[in-house]
């Protein structure tokens, strides 16, 4: 699946997007956050407070317990500040 990172999540991770291939044990958005956090310092810093990072699956807001099966695109970003 394709992963996108925005705002300070992007800055901490150090990239705007990448392809992810998580193991089958990674089933939810929360699992994915935990798995990503183990991939290096930048990821750990981005997800140090998981509740402070929002996610979307295929461009729809998704909670931590949402299943990632079938999703083509996942995105992580801070709380929104548009408007």
């Amino acid at each position: 699946m394709k992963a996108l990172y925005f705002a300070w999540v992007r800055e901490r991770v150090g990239r705007a997007e990448e392809e992810l291939d998580p193991p089958p044990t990674v089933m939810t958005v929360g699992d994915l956050v935990a798995w990503l956090s183990g991939r290096g310092e930048g990821y750990a810093a981005a997800f140090e407070k998981p509740a402070g990072v929002r996610a979307a699956l295929d461009r729809v807001h998704a909670k931590s317990d949402a299943a990632i099966a079938g999703a083509k695109e996942v995105a992580f970003f801070p709380p929104m500040t548009g408007g």
Partner: protein
């Protein structure tokens, strides 16, 4: 029915609002909101707005559909800019047409609350004189404001 645009360039709020009423006689009320980049005490050089292309449009369209399901609207236009925006420049427009004013006011306010809390945009402040840059923090007040429209409340 709503027109949703996410764009780098500026827009003409008066023309957008008037377009909702032009040539028809069933519109009794057009409410429009224009949000501007404020200068925080003379220290802001600009805001840099990042967004999630595709999702930004989708999310605004979903909010507009929800507004249309909730109030008898006769038209709605939402425009949100991204990129570098200087103090005094326009950032966002919400314009809503209805037969009666109460629906137009409520829908415009709901759309703004949703834009603030649900639309994937992030503001970064660029300071004058090379001061520290920083991502604007989300306001709890905005979440409370948006929660007013949630059916569960």
């Amino acid at each position: 029915m709503a027109s949703v645009r996410v764009q780098r360039h500026d827009f003409d709020p008066g023309a957008e609002a008037e377009a909702l009423a032009r040539g028809r006689t069933d519109v009794g009320a057009v409410v429009s909101f224009v949000g501007y980049c404020r200068d925080e005490g003379g220290r802001l050089a600009a805001l840099e707005l990042e967004h999630y292309p595709g999702m930004a449009e989708d999310e605004i369209a979903r909010a507009a559909q929800e507004a249309e399901a909730r109030w008898p609207l006769l038209g709605a236009t939402v425009i949100h800019r991204y990129g570098r925006i200087a103090p005094g420049e326009r950032i966002v427009l919400v314009a809503v047409a209805a037969s009666h004013r109460s629906a137009a006011f409520a829908a415009a306010e709901m759309l703004m609350d949703y834009l603030k809390t649900c639309a994937p945009f992030w503001k970064r402040a660029i300071r004058l004189g090379g001061g520290p840059e920083g991502w604007v923090e989300a306001k709890e007040e905005d979440d409370r404001s948006a929660a007013r429209w949630s059916p569960a409340d």
